[in-house]
């Protein structure tokens, strides 16, 4: 990596500034590459993405098919209980229904990643939209939108999500994709407020800048000014906010499922999204005394993913906002 290959960096950087024009994004990427924790984070996240995509080929067993007389086998290195010997076919052991834990983990990463991405896209669309309009229009539109934001934000988000999921759980909508569609919607409806405030604040300061005034003077339509001139300048803080919000969405799925209002278990062997890490943790927690490995592995899997995203987010923040980099 670039971190070791640059001993005389101070002098070199000076030359670079003199000779080559440097873009904001190029600079940011250079700073990000030098951050070891962030690069580790990216690597792990990409690894998870690969595992999720290749799940049907990677998983040694079907994650849903149950085998009789094979339940609660410990991982293969745990041999101290003579009544419950491991089965060499199941490296990480089996759950109460005799299903292979490793295969379930591999498939469960899919749900965790999707839960981190799909609601996030909705959040960005709503949050950026409201923030842009409120900040640029000002006046009563701003006042109304910000009051709305304040009310949504003043409701404890988890409680709001729980209420929503409870209300619609038994409907057709709530049953779609094993309840995932409802989780996505609930997370998005609650999650946009901080992004809207962030974007509004950015727009408020940007719209006083000379380049916006120049664009206005040239008679460029408002929508074009918003999209071409203001939005690109708010991208950096949006990217940072998104990278921090993805792990909290992944955790929210686990929390909801643990509280019994999240994803439903699937019994269809052909289901591409049969289980989630939250569901595996709930199963594991309910069988803590007989099979602690059922809880341990999904917890480790989720922790690694969440911490990797945090490292990446910290790195992105330092890279995109160099004012804070010295701290």
């Amino acid at each position: 990596m670039a971190t070791t290959a640059r001993p005389a960096s101070a002098l070199e950087e000076l030359n670079l500034t003199a000779t080559k024009p440097r873009s904001l994004w190029g600079d940011a990427w250079r700073r990000l590459r030098r951050n070891k924790a962030a690069m580790l984070g990216i690597t792990v996240v990409l690894l998870y993405v690969l595992v999720a995509l290749a799940a049907p080929w990677l998983a040694p067993k079907n994650p849903v098919t149950q085998t009789s007389n094979n339940s609660l086998r410990p991982p293969i290195w745990v041999t101290d209980n003579p009544n419950r010997q491991p089965n060499p076919e199941h490296i990480l052991g089996t759950d109460t229904n005799g299903r292979d834990i490793l295969s379930r983990l591999i498939f469960a990463t899919r749900v965790s990643l999707i839960v981190g991405v799909v609601p996030q896209i909705i959040i960005v669309v709503i949050g950026v939209g409201i923030g842009l309009v409120a900040g640029f229009r000002g006046g009563w539109v701003d006042n109304l939108l910000m009051r709305l934001t304040e009310i949504v934000a003043s409701f404890p988000d988890l409680l709001f999500i729980i209420t929503l999921t409870v209300a619609f759980r038994e409907t057709l909508f709530g049953k779609a994709f094993n309840g995932l569609l409802l989780i996505f919607t609930a997370l998005a409806v609650v999650g946009w407020t901080s992004l809207a405030r962030l974007v509004r604040g950015q727009v408020l300061s940007l719209k006083e800048k000379e380049f916006v005034e120049a664009a206005k003077a040239l008679g460029i339509p408002t929508s074009r000014i918003l999209v071409r001139h203001i939005l690109p300048n708010t991208l950096a803080p949006i990217i940072v906010a998104v990278s921090f919000s993805i792990p909290s969405l992944i955790l929210a799925e686990a929390i909801l499922t643990f509280l019994g209002v999240g994803m439903r278990p699937s019994v269809d062997p052909a289901n591409p999204l049969p289980t989630s890490l939250g569901q595996m943790m709930t199963d594991g927690f309910n069988n803590l005394s007989s099979g602690p490995w059922m809880l341990l592995f999904p917890v480790l899997m989720l922790s690694t993913l969440v911490i990797s995203f945090t490292f990446l987010g910290d790195g992105l923040r330092d890279a995109l906002d160099p004012r804070d980099a010295g701290r």
Partner: protein
């Protein structure tokens, strides 16, 4: 200042009403009623159900049900014919619970004592306060220490631990604590004995406080680093003041100010965190009661839970704002 506090308290009222309206509306839209019984078991007779529906006012129009619940209702005494005002949620009366078929009120369930045992509210409040104290009393010294020893192994260790706590959330930290200390080391029992005044509280307090601990540590560290560079600190050092005096008298006072500002959002996280912390560690508090109520579709309990949670959230934010004004005289409230 007084005007500001009054305005903040008044702003809480529309928030609570809207929260109540939302929860009430959602609860009403939910398919399945509180009197649905298992079809294989003995059914409630239509007469009994009619009496219950009447007692809970379930056949009134929506807005009447809502105002009756939220604000007040004029009730007529059937014998004397006298009219009296019965206050709703704003008067602390959350009505009877559906799951007890009206035998017990929500406020009895939440705040009343249960056969000599402390109330549900006591468990949640004590857990929350303990967790906050744990986070503040450990987080500030850890942050100061890390900042004073910047770029040493102590600093890196503190940073790494706090990053873990911040990103992992109470749920994962709770699971890890259960796995390590209850399941593996067997220092604690999985089923807590609440007659013991200390032991069962340790793990839930750590789990619930962990996220706040991480945030407070990181924030204290960066704000001490900021203060360290200030002129007045250099002046104090140049005067030849003792290092201890400079740290405690000159730096710390200014460094903890930002910590007070995040106590508001942190108490929000603590309050909602009790929901699953109480389930992981089987604490008989309000959080676990609310989750049970959701399963049983106990509308009055769900609404009361949401309102009580939002109320305490607003209260916590208000206290934090006032505290900030008291500690930092530069802040003026308009």
């Amino acid at each position: 200042m007084t005007a500001y506090i009054i305005r903040r308290i008044l702003w809480q009222i529309p928030v609570l009403v809207i929260v109540g309206l939302l929860t009430f509306g959602i609860a009403k839209m939910t398919p399945g009623g509180p009197f649905d019984t298992d079809p294989t078991r003995r059914q409630m007779s239509p007469q009994v159900e009619a009496v219950l529906r009447d007692r809970f006012g379930m056949d009134l129009p929506f807005w009447r049900q809502f105002t009756r619940y939220m604000f007040l209702d004029v009730v007529t005494d059937p014998k004397t014919g006298e009219q009296a005002i019965r206050w709703g949620a704003i008067g602390g009366n959350f009505g009877p619970t559906y799951s007890s078929r009206g035998a017990r009120t929500v406020q009895q369930e939440l705040f009343g004592d249960r056969g000599g045992k402390p109330s549900r509210f006591y468990y949640s409040a004590r857990l929350g306060v303990q967790a906050l104290l744990f986070a503040v009393l450990l987080g500030i010294p850890m942050g100061v220490l890390a900042a004073l020893k910047q770029n040493t192994w102590i600093d890196y260790l503190v940073l790494l631990t706090s990053t873990f706590f911040v990103s992992l959330s109470t749920l994962i930290v709770g699971f890890l604590l259960v796995l390590i200390f209850a399941s593996w080391l067997k220092w604690f029992t999985v089923l807590p004995n609440w007659n013991d005044p200390i032991r069962p509280w340790i793990l839930p307090t750590i789990a619930l406080g962990s996220t706040s601990l991480g945030f407070i540590t990181r924030l204290t560290r960066s704000s001490v680093l900021e203060v360290k560079r200030q002129d007045y600190v250099r002046t104090a050092q140049a005067k030849g003041l003792n290092d201890q005096v400079v740290v405690w008298r000159h730096m710390l006072k200014n460094a903890v100010l930002p910590v007070i500002t995040i106590l508001g959002p942190l108490s929000a996280a603590l309050i909602t965190g009790t929901l699953y912390t109480e389930i992981i560690f089987q604490v008989p508090g309000m959080g676990s009661l609310l989750i049970e109520a959701i399963g049983k579709r106990d509308y009055s309990m769900i609404m009361a839970g949401a309102l009580v949670f939002v109320f305490f959230l607003g209260l916590a934010n208000l206290i934090v704002d006032i505290a900030y004004g008291v500690v930092d005289p530069r802040i003026s409230y308009k």
